[in-house]
Subunit: 200 residues, 2 copies
């Protein structure tokens, strides 16, 4: 019997993996309140990446619903949300955190950040990309009001809940266990934890 | 007496211009229903560009309000919305239209598109950028519902209405008079027109 390997996204760190078309990537919110910034790049040409602005223009929602497909910047299907036990709060609006973001938030010196985690995760696979695409922020709860005001809210996901993304092409997927501990997006305690994933 | 030069964004075409910190860029919706895709790049390093995902995370709205500042992908102020007579429907959510977008919409053969217009406008200034950032879609009306459903709506702007953006750094600004004539974003008639701008 084949067993599925459960891989770790270490707390405050990034990791990337190669995925074949048709495989399912299960992203597990192990401790329940950890945002996981997620990117995907075409395996054949890493300048073709999952694009939040192209995806919103395709599924015509601020957040993907079950069955919705994310598109690349060439408008090709790359990932489809096929299962979700997390409550569905997956943000498409906000940039990955980065060093200048933490300086704006008053942090002095180094702070772990999702942008650096993306590029470190890709580098471990020998992949280099020249920009930082806007991520799919799994488990990140950014509510909007009727007048369009946004907020940094606590997660609605619970321990062990997960989202499953089906690969629509051969791709490189990258994750960052978001190290944001100034805003409450990883829970009010500011605790940042590991998460897990499997490729099935 | 100095007179302000009024420059044309030809129908279905792109144009770019250099702007000095502190100057005001007035974008005029001459015929009232023309979407103008807008980008800005740091004059010193064109890999630093106006970022919709960083801007939303700064002003915490789906759309900028009067006085709100757009940030670059390095989280630095680049443009501030300082005047607006258009009704304020300036989209930050949707990708610029491009050749594969028109293929998805059923168009066969060539269709003018904002992505090509951006790069042609920049090329006329001798500027080359390796990606197509998500644009600020001036006068483009993308309403949302409480559940996050988006729509392609007609403009709310009127002939001669305008938005004024103040430059917060030396920059290159680029515009495309959006050639979208399949969806109703440039008005129900599908007519695409010129627009105008001035740098004061």
């Amino acid at each position: 019997m084949a067993t599925t390997q459960i891989l770790t996204i270490p707390a405050r760190r990034g990791v990337a993996a190669r995925v074949t078309k048709g495989q399912r990537v299960k992203v597990i919110n192990t401790h329940g309140s950890q945002v996981v910034d997620t990117w995907a790049f075409s395996a054949n040409d890493v300048t073709e990446w999952m694009s939040m602005e192209c995806s919103r223009a395709w599924f015509m929602k601020l957040r993907a619903a079950l069955g919705d497909t994310f598109l690349t910047n060439q408008r090709r299907p790359i990932l489809t949300l096929v299962e979700d036990t997390s409550g569905g709060a997956h943000d498409t609006l906000m940039a990955a955190c980065d060093a200048p973001r933490y300086r704006l938030l008053g942090v002095e010196g180094h702070h772990d950040n999702c942008r650096d985690n993306l590029h470190a995760g890709l580098a471990a696979l020998g992949v280099k990309v020249a920009a930082t695409p806007s991520p799919l922020n799994l488990f990140m709860n950014i509510p909007w009001t009727p007048d369009g005001t946004l907020a940094w809210a606590e997660p609605v996901s619970t321990a062990g809940s997960y989202a499953v993304l089906r690969a629509e092409m051969d791709l490189v997927i990258a994750f960052s266990a978001c190290p944001q501990d100034v805003l409450p997006i990883n829970g009010r305690t500011g605790q940042t934890t590991e998460a897990h994933f499997s490729i099935e």
